[in-house]
Symmetry: C2
Subunit: 219 residues, 2 copies
C-alpha cells in the first residue's frame, strides 16, 4: 500500500500527545502555505511549543513532513482508487490526473513533495516508487487501448506534475482553478489522434530520478 506511513512512536504522556498534535496541525498549516522548506521555528511558534520540543517529537524535518502529509496521501489514494475503477481507460487516466492535481493544488508542501525525491529516506522512496508504478500502469492502460499516444512515458507525466506544480505556485492565490485548464490543454497533447513526432527521447529512469533529486537540492 502506498500511503502507509510508518507511525512515529506516539508519546506516552497526555501533555506530550497534545503537543504532538498541535505540532502536526501547525506543520500542516505552514507546509501547505510555504512549502517543504517552511521554518521549523515558525511551526514551533505556531504550535505554542518550544523549538526543543519540536525536535524531541520529530528529530528530522522529514519526520514532521510525513506526519503532516498523511491526510493528503490518504485523500489522494481514495481518489485514485475511484479512478482506476473507471471502465474507459482514457477516462480513468484523466480522472487519475485530475485527482492528483487537485490534491497537489491544495497544499504547497505536498506539491513540493510530489515533485522531488529524497534519497536516503527509505519511507519516502517507497512512496515515490509506488506512485511511479501506479502512474505508469494507468498510462499504459490508456495507451494499450489506443487512446493515449504511444510515445509518452512516465517521465512525461512526472514532467506534467512539475509543470502543474509550478503553475500552482504561481496561480494558487490568484486563479486557484487555473491548473485544470492547463491539465486539459496537456491532455490534448497526450491524445493518440493528435500525436506528432517528438524531437527528443523521454528521460531514462535514471535521468528522471536525478532530476527529481536535483529539484530538492536547488530550491
Amino acid at each position: 500500500m502506498i500511503g502507509q506511513v510508518e507511525q512515529t512512536r506516539m508519546p506516552r504522556r497526555r501533555d506530550a500527545i497534545e503537543r504532538h498534535d498541535r505540532l502536526v496541525a501547525a506543520a500542516q498549516q505552514e507546509f501547505a502555505v510555504r512549502g517543504v522548506n517552511a521554518s521549523l521555528e515558525a511551526i514551533a511558534r505556531d504550535a505554542g511549543v518550544a523549538i526543543g520540543t519540536l525536535y524531541r517529537h520529530f528529530p528530522t524535518r522529514m519526520d514532521l513532513l510525513l506526519a503532516a502529509f498523511e491526510p493528503r496521501l490518504q485523500e489522494f489514494l481514495e481518489g485514485a482508487k475511484l479512478s482506476i475503477e473507471i471502465a474507459d481507460p482514457w477516462e480513468g487516466f484523466v480522472s487519475y490526473l485530475e485527482n492528483l492535481f487537485r490534491v497537489q493544488a491544495g497544499d504547497r508542501g505536498f506539491n513540493d513533495f510530489l515533485s522531488r525525491r529524497f534519497p536516503g529516506n527509505a519511507e519516502t522512496e517507497r512512496i515515490h516508487d509506488q506512485m511511479c508504478l501506479h502512474i505508469a500502469s494507468v498510462l499504459t492502460r490508456a495507451q494499450k487501448a489506443g487512446q493515449a499516444r504511444s510515445d509518452i512515458r512516465l517521465a512525461d507525466i512526472v514532467n506534467l506534475i512539475w509543470s502543474n506544480g509550478r503553475m500552482i505556485d504561481a496561480t494558487g492565490t490568484t486563479a486557484p482553478n487555473e491548473w485544470r485548464r492547463h491539465l486539459y490543454l496537456m491532455l490534448d497533447a497526450y491524445r493518440a489522434e493528435r500525436a506528432h513526432p517528438l524531437p527528443e527521447p523521454p528521460m531514462t529512469d535514471e535521468q528522471l530520478y536525478d532530476a527529481m533529486v536535483h529539484l530538492g537540492n536547488a530550491d
Copy 2:
C-alpha cells in the same frame, strides 16, 4: 525596442571600470547557475572585490541583474527577429518558442527573470510588457491562419514558460535537451485541428500579472 537596457552610469576610473566588468562577469556566472537569488556576497567574492564595492557599482540586485542579462536579452531578440520573418505563421510560432526556450534553458537566472515580474521597477516592467505584446502577436498570427487553436491566450504561453522553467530547473544538469521534448508535446496541444474544449477560462491580464509577481515573492 525590448532589449534596450538603460546603461548604468559607467564608472570613470580605470580600476573602477575593471572591477565593474569583473562584477558583471561573476554575476553572470552566479545568476546562471543559482538563479536570481544568488548570493551577492558570493558574487563579490568571485569577482575578487569587497561587498561594499559591489553595492557602490550596483545599489540594488536588479541593477546587477539587468547588467548581467543584457547579453541573454540580445541573444533572444536576435533569434526572435529571425522567427517573425518566417513566412508560415505556425512555423514562426514554433521557431519563436524554441528560441525563447533555448535561451531560457541556458541560464537559470534568466529563466527566473522570464517567469516573474518585478513591480516597482520601470525598466523590467517595460521589458516584460514588450515581451508579452510580442508573444501575443506571434500567437495571434498563427491563430488567424487557423493553425493554432483559437481558445488559447497569452496567459497560456506564459504558463508554458513557467512549465518550461520548472522542467529546466529539474533536468538542466541531467537531461539538458529534454525541454525540447516538452515543447513539442505542448505544441501538439496548441494545434487547431481536433482541439477539445477547455474547462476553465484563461487567466485575465490582472491574474496573470499577479501570478508572475507572486512567483517572485514565494521563492
